[in-house]
Amino acid sequence: MRFGGKRDKRRGRAGLADTGTSSERCHSLNSGSERPPIRWGRPLEKNNPSTERQSVLQREREARDWNVRIAIPLPANMSRRRGDDDEVLEPEEDEEAVLDEEEEEEEVDEGKSGRKRRRCEFIDDVAEEDEDEDEEDDDFLDGGGRRGGHRHNRRVRSRYIDDIAMVDSDGEDDEDDGEDDFIVDHVTDLQDDDDSRRMHRRPLLPREDDLEDVEALERSIQARYARSSHTEYDEETAAVEQQAFLPSVRDPKLWMVKCVTGCEREAAVCLMQKYLDKGSELQIRSAIALDHLKNYIYVEAAKEAHVKEACKGMRVFHAHAKITLVPIKEMTDVLSVESKAIDLSRDTWVRMKRGKYKGDLARVVDVDNVQQRVTVKLIPRIDLQAIANKLEGREVPKKNAFVPPARFLNVDEARGMHIRVEHRRDPMNGDYFEKIDGMMFKDGFLYKIVSMKSISTQNIQPTFDELEKFRQPGENGDGDMASLSTVFANRKKGHFMKGDQVIFVGGDLKDLKGWVEKVDEDNVHIRPNAEGLPKTLTVNEKELCKYFKPGNHVKVVSGASEGATGMVIEVEGHVVIIVSDTTREPIQLFADNVAESSGVTSGVTRIGGYELHDLVMLDNRSFGVIIRVESEALQVLKGVPERPEVALVKPREIKCKVDGRTNAQDQNKNPVSVKDVVRILAGPCKGNQGPVQHIFRGILFIYDCHHREHAGFICAKSQSCIVLGGLCGNANINGDTLASTFSHLRTPTRVLQSPGRLPSGAPMDSGARHRGGRGHDRLVGTTVKVCRGPYKGSRGRVVDFNGSSVRVELESQMKIVAVDRHHISDNLVVSTHSSVPRCGTSSETPMHPSRTPLHPSMTPMRDPGAIPIHNGMRTPMRDRAWNPHTPMSPPRSVGEWDSWVDANPGSWGTSPLYQPGSPSTTYQAPTPGSGWTNTPGCNYVKAGTPRDNSHAYANAPSPYLPSTPGGQPMTPISASYLPGTPGGQPMTPGSGGLDVMPPALGGGNEGLWALPDILVNVSRAGEDTVIGVVREVLSDGSCRINLGSNGNGNTVIAHPTEIDLVVPRKSDKVKIMSGAQRGSTGKLIGIDGSDGIVKEDATLEVTILEMNILAKVAQSL
């Protein structure tokens, strides 16, 4: 007892305490008095000791006042600190003895047996009252009175002195007086206060006769750290009272002082020493070093100058150390402690705090409290190759900047790399371990012994993914309970809220469901969902778990995918599976981490410097696209074309962000650049298509919004893709004899611009009258901007058109919406989409300024994916820029047309510069030297003059025409170039028609691209016209035809010029040969002049189409 007391006292005096207790101390100090001050410490009084006793007292006081608080003593330096204490305190032991005597004397003086303490207290009070008549101070002192109630000896007494000292300090100007007052007895005054004080002030000593819980706790802390807390928290103190103890403006302020890194403690101790040396010259009241705060210590003082003064000349402070004031509100935070340390036990989840496993989840396997060491089990992050190299004595590369990804160790793999694997039995528990290079492994896990310091145990919230990883195939279930219990232990306060639906997971009421009515501390009031039970039940929240039903719409409130919303699709115990609203991918979560919600959010899209859909480098070999961002990790679709490979990585595992804007070549050696739309021809995602988002090392990352996995991203080799809008192959086209045959015919330009889309609102038949299908079809594939209605301002690609509405695939949201035809703006060419202009096109801009305005019109052709590429050209494409060209849209004669087609594809495929979309004016632009002319096979370039000789384009001059590039076919060979069908440009590259389309169809006739199954009249020279059924369309445009109306006759091959469509009659089955519906079948339900009314089979939609694009379908089908 005695010893303990002494020890304690020493602690108190030395003021060395850990933060764990220091906050308590603050509390107790606070609780001990009603005045607001923090009893952080006090200025030292300059007392000139007049008597020996006084001097002793003073010294003691000084020492005590110096509450040098050092945060969280760690086991490792315990001994050292103890040593420090001893050094400092040694002399005090004597003093204490003296004090004892003194007290006794006093006691005698007072004539109050067993109440020496009281006396001190009185002294305190006196001092205080005299000095600054502050009521609060009274109370503060009163706090000390309580101790008087306990039979405490010197210890207590010294405590009072401490108090006194503090009180003194409150009056800043009273330092001189303090000493004198100190000795004066005012017994009477104090008596009254005594009881009330007792209420507040609690004993300092842990070894009280009447031990209270807190004291027990204190003792345990003491046992652990061999230190005692200075004072304790008074349970009886209500929160309101505590409020009053918060620091106020009248209290000394707390300053943050920068010091040399690593010398925080030293700084605090030095200040204490300085104080001891210099006495009350130093006007600071305390110095605090916190372990978790590097580079700074806190100093309590009334003025900044005092702090400066104190720090002056000390090695550990920089000459002009920065001193910042801690705002009053934050003062308490400085010394508050998160919570009591919890005992680590087996199976607790912890996180590593340092090293390459930093942040990783680990599970405690064994705890050695004596050595303060913990054995944890981790998923190893080791580079076997590096180990192999090391073991074989080869050069070990310098430390890698990035951390190898976590994965289970495969012993066989290690053996395969000639790494020696020892099989050892652990002497302690008899388990077998694999030992590699000094590391212990078992079941693929790494077992690591770490210091308790290097793990964090607080608020560990393992994510579902992490736990899932930990759950090895063989150990299903058994780990669950343990892991869940720790998960629950770490639940945040206020976890349940009124109205939450919950289910009992433990206790007698297991599986009972109910609703939360009210939540107190740990108890939750539940209204059970069952008959025969009381209206409300009060249960411990540990027995509860949030409950969701499939179909609930929830929001993730914590964990990796925090912020996301989705619908619950399955509930398995504590685990719920939800389908995210944005990605429509399932996410597994703990029920605890979600809350019901009705909103829709996407969650985070950015972490560190990486954003969703960035291309990143993982290590030297692998790279990928970020397809999902969670709060602490990223999902990356790796650049492995063979199969979709997704890795979950942490930001630090990423080496860097890559700008994937290189170029590649597709299967046909066409250049592929970012934003080009490609179709995948091989691999697992064959058939998908979409714009290229990144190109890196010959690998394309394609975004296909119809691809539901991996956020729509597909990874493919560039060689296994083709660029849409490019041509089926350069070689093929260049070598095309037809091309050369016709090349002498100069076509000014292609037809694209001329019969442009109809102006909005114009009746569709006005333009389409002559030839071609519905003008609206041209809209399909274009990028439009919605200018009215709920989607106002958004852009998207037109995917379908019907009646007065168009279906627009919004760029910003992955969905297709119906928009009124009149609500979209025509100049849709404008696009914000491409952040980097395509190389080809952008480079030419400066060369051909005159073309610029026209340029955008090409975009949709080349890039039917609705992502115009020319953002550089946006501005000029206004109507003003357009209109001048409109009338000129060069009509072309049939013959020319062919030549164009033939000549063009080559250039098309090879260079985006030669997009045929530019109207003739372009070529007249005085830029003869431009790259334009270099193009081989680009015949139309020279034909500058537009011709107006074609009646087919009579409707062209509509001012809106030029602005409708989108409707234009993307493939030069497509039927759109046929004079007969200027309007309905059928070929969307995605339609699949590309491959079968013959490059050209015989000019001059009204023929359309043949499609299988239609009836045709074959009229060959010298033969009668025979009816037949087209069976197959060959690549050169000719058709394999089975003669006979049912297609049961001979098979012939006919050139397109030799075939003619059979005009369907009413209620015949027809096939649409042109326009967006090309290839679809329907029934001709009526004929109106040159228009046919067709009811499509697929959509049941009734449309009006030009008769000449309708072909009768063979009967047999």
Partner: protein
């Protein structure tokens, strides 16, 4: 707009047949719309229903409301509204569609995406094609004290067995009605008869 008038007549016809209500929910629903501002016209029902909505919200607070068609918890207004079977909707929509076709020269009268999709859907999943059959089906079903909603689910799905019917419409059993298995079986038999003669 003559088309519209005819349409109304058509609806009345159907109502006479005790038409209407399909489980997957086409409702004939009366709405009053007032549109004080331009932005509102898109959601005509909002104002009229706000009172109801409030009640509903209150229910929600209690945590028990939970829409659940299996227990016939589909909200008051829908319980009161006529529920139409797919085939009935198909009739209505087709009728309307034809009307619109006749005025097809005006593209503004083209139908919405929703309309089109709904039409396709109901046509694909209509059990009874001709109007007489539809009429009979409703008649049969309406003999059995079914809620509108239940009636339509049965009419849409045409279960073959009693068990199936109960699985499809659990509320038939749970509500403690005088609907025994025999009755259900008879009902199903009658329904299948119509189908045969359809």
């Amino acid at each position: 707009m003559c088309g519209l008038h005819t349409l109304c007549e058509c609806i009345e016809d159907l109502l006479e047949l005790v038409v209407v209500h399909l489980s997957f929910l086409y409702y004939l629903y009366r709405l009053v719309s007032t549109h004080p501002t331009r932005s509102l016209p898109l959601h005509p029902p909002n104002q009229t229903v706000s009172v109801l909505a409030d009640c509903f919200r209150e229910l929600r607070m209690s945590g028990e409301e939970e829409e659940n068609a299996a227990e016939l918890k589909i909200g008051d207004e829908f319980l009161k509204a006529k529920c139409l079977m797919n085939c009935e909707v198909a009739l209505i929509l087709e009728h309307k569609y034809e009307q619109l076709q006749q005025m097809a020269d005006d593209p503004m009268n083209q139908v919405s995406q929703v309309f089109e999709k709904s039409l396709q859907y109901v046509k694909r999943f209509s059990r009874y094609k001709n109007p007489d059959a539809v009429r009979q089906a409703r008649e049969i079903l309406s003999r059995y004290q079914l809620a509108e909603f239940e009636l339509c689910v049965l009419g849409n799905l045409c279960p073959d067995t009693v068990e199936e019917a109960i699985a499809m419409v659990p509320s038939m059993k749970s509500r403690g009605r005088a609907l025994d298995e025999e009755a259900i079986e008879k009902m199903l038999n009658d329904l299948s008869m119509i189908k045969k003669f359809d």
